[in-house]
Structure formats: structure tokens, C-alpha cells
């Protein structure tokens, strides 16, 4: 049997304001029937563009060359997608190859019932009466594991959870029985426990429906879990292609090796015990520490103390409010790093924002550096603000785009009267930039001229500018590529060990938290599920939710992941999903 899709010498160029960008250069790829091929690579490596070109879902500015031979779903013929006319292309889309998008909540149209949307694909390709289409939609929903499909087929997208929505998107792809499913980061927008379920479903797609899957992902754990074969892309080219076990066992290309080394794994020990300080950084950090004068605030009273903390967002139109944080007790001691872990909607970001005074506390008690935050006035809290640093999730938006990096980092110094203007603050700014491994020439650039990792390091420099006693880091690495993330985490560990600030590190990724935190608190639906020393929580979780969270986390090792998958199955069978 021949390949489902055969990509030959594909090149894609985009016309942009900054000239032509060659996004894909000479890519050759083959996907065999019933095979899961994963394309991995960092953002900008061309993996998504390659996959989308199979359905020719490219913007007008793209120019393509090469050939993409796609086999039709009756296995009788192949067609070169790149030369098809509009009508023929429309016939191919959905029937021969279907797409599963990253964000299920935007891939579904909110004003139509899901059953109608599933049937839309059927109507596009064959004449089918309403009853039959309805029946087929119900059938395919049952097969992707939506409970009670006869009833739910008429529900609207907002009535489903994120994981169920992704199941429906997969159902839309499966309903025409395509030979190839292109899954573009199908689990990136989902929580880790839901991700495990969706990966399981995709495996079923392959086993029961016989579809080949082209999986695009940056998550090596997902690759280890699902893929048969892996293609590693780097700067528009495929640098390595191998069977999954071979690739993880004996990576050939240096880039693949770097990529795999950068992936955080649970139980690999804490970073601060491992990383060494580069000489030039050590100097800058030493100077900073002298300027910061004295470590007397590093001992004594807890920096943050929450007792029965409640944060409620007011509801609209007399509806009850949403309780984001519900009776949480937390303590952060001086110089300690607390990792706050939870899925989306668990209230972890809300706690960080409440500590920073961005979100008002509804009930209970929250003391931050000696100030009670319940009903606090901005005037009272403002002096405390300079003792708190904050690193935001998305480095792209947390800098004013019209100020240079040096001006941005100087802002806290100017605001709190340490320096008169940006020029006066420049000496300290340069030291700070050096401490985060940016040379001082970066200070004169604008935020958009820096890469994501550089921006996040500059963001760290800004947070540290006033020698904070407490640093709040809200998912500081989740917008970064894995190799960049590794560098930023190293830096975090180094600076924390040297400057000894207390830190609240918020993340959804247990492996990342494991690298840094002294203690870990696990949040679930606004309540504290478990809290304790990092080794204890990760090695011997007591709470069933923590257990499930840990079991759902795919590890970047195919053999180990297969074993973990079995453990996850028994665990979910024992404690059904709430």
C-alpha cells in the first residue's frame, strides 16, 4: 500500500513587509496509512505551514513550489494538491484529508448546534437528507465519546466543556472518513488531564477508523505518547526523521538533542542545585547584591499569609458572582519559592493578582508584606508595591511598545524616585540587564525587536529592579519555546538563589514547577487540593486530583509513557472524571 500523502520538495515563501520569508525549504515527507507522524519544532520552524499546505490553507501572500500528492479516500487515485483547481480542491478538503484545529472554542461556530456543524461536512460532499445527516452526526458523536449523543446533538458549542468541544471538532473531521487527519497542536489549548483523554481519542481514531494522523506539536511528551514516527523541523527544513523510539533513544542531529535536553522532566532534581553561574553574570549579580544593601528582610515574618482567602468576581445582571478562589490558606516565607499549580480556571492566576493588588479580595484574610489586602486602599498599598516584582505570562504584551527596553526597565526606578529619568537610571539598568544575560546594547532596542525569551528576561530584570522581597511570576514561560524556556528557568533559579527573594511561581506545568519550587500548592476549582514540600507532592501525592494530574502528564520517553498510560487508564477507571 502506498502513502496517504507524499510531500515532495515543498517550498513555501511568504511576502511580508520586511521582504520575502522562506518559511519552508525543500521538505520531503511521507505518511503511511494508519501511521501517526509527528512534526515537532519550535514556533517559526514551518511545521504548521507545512501541514496546512496539504489542504492548501495558506494565506494569499504565500507562494508554493514542489508537489503534495494526496491519496483519495477510496484509495483509487492521487492528486497533486498544489495544482488542483478550486472545485477539485474543495472536493479534496474534508473528504481525503481533514483538519483538527488547536483552539476548539474558536473552531466551532457559536450560533449553530454542533450536530448541524458536523452534518455541514456531509452536506458539502454528498447529497444527503436532513434525517440521515442527523443520524450520522449522532453516530460519530457516540464514537468520539460524547455521552448521550441523541440529546446533545442539538446543543450549542458553549454547552460543552473544552475537552468535549475538541471531541466534536475531531468528530467533524472523522465524519467523512478521511484517510488523513491533520491535527495542529490539538491539545495545546487544553488542560493536562483533558489532554490525556484527547490523546487517547486520537489513538482510537487511528486504531478504529484507520486514519493516518499528521500531528503537529511542540510538546515532546505528546509525541512520545502518540507518535509512531517523528520529523523534527528547524528553520523550515526537516533535520531529522526517525521512528519514535529511535529518536528519543538516540537522537542524531544536534538540534534534536538540544530540544530533548531542554524538556523539563519530573524528578530530575532542582535547577538551583545544578546550574552554574556564568562568570560575567556572576559579576553583575554581585554588584546588584551590594547595591541592594543587606539581607535583613530575608528572615522573619511570612511575606504572604492567606487565611480562608476568597475572591469572587461579581456577576452581571443580578446573577450570582463567580467564586474564583474559595477559602485558600497559603504561606510564603522569606526567600522561599512556592509553586502554585492548577488547570485553567483553578484560580491560580487570581491568587497572584490578589497578592499584587490587581484583584480585590472578597473575604478571608490576605496579608502581603504586613498589609491586609481585604478592603485595602491603593494609597496604603502603593509604598508596598516597590517590594513586589511581577513577571507576566506574555512577554510580548507586558512592555509598552513605544518605549525602549532600557526605558521600560527604568520605569520602576523612576516611579519610586530612585532615579530622576531613564538616563540617570541607565547604570543600574545595564547591571540588571547583564544579570539576566542581556548585553546593555539591548537596552536601546524596542520590545518588538527582541525575541520572546529575551523579552521575558528583560521582564525579569524589570521585576528585580527595586530588589523585591516577593516576586510573583504568572506562567512566565508558557508562551516560550521549550529550549528558550529552559534558559529562562535556569536564570530564574540562579537569581533566586543569589538574591534570595521569595517567589510565587504560577504554572500549569508540574514539570516546570518541579525544577524550581521548594514547596508546591495544587489548586483545583478554587480550593487547595494539596500543599507540601515539592519532593513529597510529586513523589507521593495524597490527593486524588493531584494523582490524576501527575498521571496525565505525558513524559518525553515512549517506553515509560506507555507504562504511564496504563497507570492513567486504571486511575481514571477508578475515579471517574467529575
Amino acid at each position: 500500500m502506498s502513502e496517504v500523502v507524499d510531500i515532495q520538495d515543498l517550498a513555501i515563501t511568504f511576502a511580508t513587509d520586511g521582504g520575502d520569508v522562506r518559511a519552508v525549504r525543500g521538505v520531503d515527507l511521507r505518511v503511511a496509512p494508519g501511521e501517526v507522524l509527528a512534526i515537532v519544532g519550535e514556533s517559526g520552524s514551518g511545521k504548521t505551514v507545512t501541514a496546512r499546505s496539504i489542504l492548501r490553507l495558506l494565506p494569499e501572500t504565500a507562494t508554493t513550489s514542489g508537489a503534495i500528492l494526496l491519496r483519495n479516500n477510496t484509495d483509487t487515485d492521487t492528486a497533486d494538491v498544489l495544482t488542483l483547481g478550486k472545485g477539485a480542491l474543495r472536493a479534496v478538503r474534508g473528504r481525503d484529508a481533514a483538519m483538527v484545529f488547536q483552539e476548539p472554542s474558536t473552531a466551532l461556530n457559536p450560533v449553530y448546534p454542533v450536530g448541524w456543524q458536523i452534518a455541514e461536512g456531509l452536506r458539502a460532499h454528498r447529497h444527503i437528507d436532513r434525517k440521515r445527516a442527523h443520524a450520522e452526526a449522532i453516530e460519530v458523536m457516540r464514537r468520539v465519546g460524547i455521552p448521550d449523543p441523541e440529546h446533545r446533538v442539538d446543543h450549542y458549542p458553549h454547552q460543552f466543556s473544552g475537552g468535549q468541544k475538541q471531541r466534536i471538532v475531531i468528530a467533524m473531521a472523522l465524519v467523512l472518513d478521511p484517510r488523513l487527519i491533520i491535527a495542529d497542536e490539538p491539545t495545546t489549548a487544553l488542560d493536562v488531564t483533558v489532554q490525556a483523554e484527547i490523546l487517547d481519542l486520537l489513538r482510537t481514531c487511528r486504531d478504529e477508523f484507520g486514519s493516518a494522523i499528521l500531528l503537529i506539536t511542540h510538546n515532546m511528551g505528546v509525541v512520545a505518547d502518540l507518535a509512531d514516527r517523528v520529523a523534527v523541523m528547524y528553520e523550515g527544513e526537516i533535520v531529522e526523521q526517525a521512528d519514535v523510539r529511535t529518536l528519543f533513544g538516540a537522537p542524531q542531529h544536534p538540534y534534536t538533542r538540544r530540544l530533548l535536553e531542554a524538556v523539563p522532566r519530573i524528578g530530575s532534581g532542582r535547577l538551583r542545585d545544578r546550574v552554574r553561574m556564568p562568570a560575567e553574570v556572576a559579576e553583575a549579580v554581585e554588584e546588584l547584591r551590594e547595591e541592594f544593601a543587606g539581607d535583613e528582610h530575608r528572615v522573619g515574618q511570612p511575606v504572604v499569609e492567606a487565611r480562608g482567602l476568597v475572591v469572587r468576581y461579581p456577576g452581571r445582571f443580578r446573577r450570582p458572582g463567580f467564586t474564583a478562589v474559595d477559602g485558600v490558606d497559603l504561606v510564603i516565607r522569606p526567600g522561599e519559592m512556592l509553586g502554585l499549580v492548577g488547570e485553567s480556571g483553578s484560580g491560580k492566576t487570581t491568587i497572584g493578582r490578589a497578592i499584587a493588588g490587581l484583584t480585590p479580595v472578597t473575604d478571608g484574610s490576605l496579608r502581603v508584606l504586613g498589609v491586609e489586602m481585604l478592603g485595602v486602599r491603593e494609597r496604603r498599598f502603593r509604598p508596598v508595591r516597590k517590594r513586589i516584582g511581577f513577571v507576566f505570562q506574555d512577554p510580548a504584551t507586558s512592555f509598552n511598545p513605544l518605549l525602549t527596553i532600557a526605558q521600560c526597565v527604568a520605569e520602576p526606578l523612576i516611579v519610586h524616585g530612585v532615579a530622576g529619568d531613564a538616563r540617570e537610571a541607565r547604570g543600574r539598568v545595564d547591571e540588571l540587564l547583564e544579570a539576566v544575560q542581556l548585553t546593555s546594547s539591548y537596552g536601546d532596542r524596542f520590545p518588538h525587536e527582541l525575541s520572546g525569551g529575551q523579552r521575558q528576561r528583560a521582564s525579569l530584570a524589570r521585576a528585580l529592579a527595586l530588589d523585591p522581597e516577593l516576586l510573583i511570576a504568572d506562567e512566565p514561560t508558557s508562551a516560550l519555546d521549550v529550549s528558550v524556556q529552559a534558559k529562562v528557568l535556569d536564570l530564574f533559579a540562579l537569581l533566586q538563589a543569589e538574591l534570595k527573594f521569595a517567589c510565587l511561581f504560577i504554572s500549569h506545568d508540574l514539570a516546570v514547577v518541579d525544577l524550581l519550587a521548594d514547596r508546591i500548592a495544587v489548586l483545583h476549582h478554587g480550593r487547595l487540593a494539596e500543599e507540601g514540600r515539592a519532593e513529597q507532592v510529586l513523589a507521593d501525592p495524597r490527593d486524588p486530583y493531584t494523582q490524576r494530574l501527575l498521571a496525565s502528564l505525558p513524559v518525553p520517553d515512549p517506553a515509560e509513557q506507555a507504562a504511564r498510560r496504563e497507570a492513567w487508564r486504571t486511575l481514571t477507571a477508578a475515579t471517574p472524571v467529575s
Binding site: T13, L58, E60, T61, T63, T64, T83, F390, F392, H416
Partner: protein, 321 residues
Amino acid sequence: MARTARRSWLDRVPVVHQLRQSVGLQRGMLIAGLVLTGIFLLTALLAPVLAPYGFADLRDENGLFGAHQRPSAAHPLGTTVGGFDVLSRVIFGARTAVLVIVIAVVASLFLGVLLGLVSGYLGGWLDRVLVVVADAIYAFPSLLLAIVVSIAVSGGQSDMWSGVVSAAIAITVVFVPQYFRVIRAETIRIKAEAYVESAKVLGTSTARIMFRHVLRNATRSLPLIFTLNASEAILTLAGLGFLGFGIEQSSGAEWGFDLNRSLSDVTSGIWWTSIFPGTAIVLVVLGLTLVGESLNDLADPRLRGRRAAGAAAGVPEEVAA
């Protein structure tokens, strides 16, 4: 990448940057608009040099011009019913138009931007009140509002400056809500941006956040409304003049008012008194609108045309995602 990350200073000048960025039809539109606008501004600046006579001259050394003279060597565009030279009045009319536009747009810009910023950032009851007021102003037919304001400001006088100022203020009142709305919407969007929050957690004062972080980022769409409003301002001015709320012919040249005076000429076959001021209005409005619309299209990456990528030498992709 063909171009380096650092852009030259020339690229940072607003309109020049867009001109370099544009291609094809969009470039043609922008250039046509810029040329028309340029001619308009130059005419206004050099009016005393360009015009053969003053705008209020009725005679030269050879005596009176005479009323309703056909276009001739002495009067290339003829003379009006009152015996003024049409060409001179059209040229000096550009001057009045520029003055009114500048005063009106600058006043509404400052007022509208300030109110929008304060209202959007602080919110609360102030915001609600201002929005209601802006909506109430929207509810008036704009020309009626302009007439009322014009009468109130000038007190019935119609010399050059009170005419210009009253027209400008009338236009300001009509335009402030537009600037207010745009800046308020931008401010509300930017208020939720992470860099404003990061300024907040640093303990930055409200005024500093508003002017350093929000204002400069909120003004991106202003050049666009600015040009579009300028063309609307000319139309409002001409409308006011046409209805007789303008500047006396002896104290200033104004296209709308001249059109008003030429109404009766049209039926008696005297075309030159109305065609030329009318054409001037059309061309200036067209020029400003072309500039504004092109800036609008170029500011939006989805509307902006680009040269096709050449390097891959393949088939251009005609199917959009």
C-alpha cells in the same frame, strides 16, 4: 529578510512610511491624494502670490472689473455678480478653508483626546455622563448644530475672523464626540493590556499611566480620522457658507458663500461663478479622503497589498485560508 531590523528615520515619518510601504493601486490612490492635498496647501500658503487680484478687489488701474464678465485674459475665470475676480476668490478661499480646518481639527483633537482618555481610563460616573453627552450631540443633525453654534459664537457678525472662528468652533462641537469615541474605545482596550497592568503593579501613578503608557499607544488611528475629518470640515464650512452663515465677501473669500451667491447665475447661463468654487471643494475633499482612506487600508495588515513573493518562483497562491 531583505530589510534590516532597524528602520531609517525617514521610515518613521507617518505618511512617508506608508508611502514606501504601499504598492499598486493603493499607492496610486495615496499619491493622487497627496498631490491634491499638496496643491491645496500650497495654494493656501502662496495665495497672495498666485492670485492676480485681492479677494475683495472690484477694480484695478483700468477701472471696475464689471459684473458677470466671461472668462478672458484679464479674468481667466470670469467675474461674479458682485464684480469680484473668480480666480482670486477661489485661490483665497483655500486660505480660509485651511484656517478653519486647522483650528477646528486641532481644537477637537485636543478636547476629544483628553476627554476620551480620562473617560476611558477612569470610567465610573464621569464616563457615563460623557458618553451620554457625546451620544446627545450625535443625535443632532450636524449642520443644524453647526448653524446654532455659529450664530451663538459670531453673534450675527460676519467679518473674516469671527466667521472663521465660529465655523471652526461649530465644526469642533460636531467632531469632538468622534475623537472622544475613538480614543475612549482604544483606551479601554489598552487598559487591559499587560503593560498597563505591569505599570500598575509597579505603583505608577494614575496620571503617569494615562499619559505615558496609554495615550501614546491610543493615538495610532488619529492621522486617519484627522484626514477624514478635515474633508468633512471643508464640507461643513461650505455648507455653512452656502446657507449664508459664512464670511462676507468683502471680508474674506469662502467657497460655500460664493456658491450661495452664484445660485441665481446658474439659471441665466452664467456657469463660471459656480463651477470653479464647486470644483475646488470637490478636489480638496477628494484629495483628503484619498489620503485618509489609503492610510486606513495601509494601517490594516489584512487590507494592505503586498508585492508577490518572487524567490520561490512558483504559482501565486490564490486560495485564501
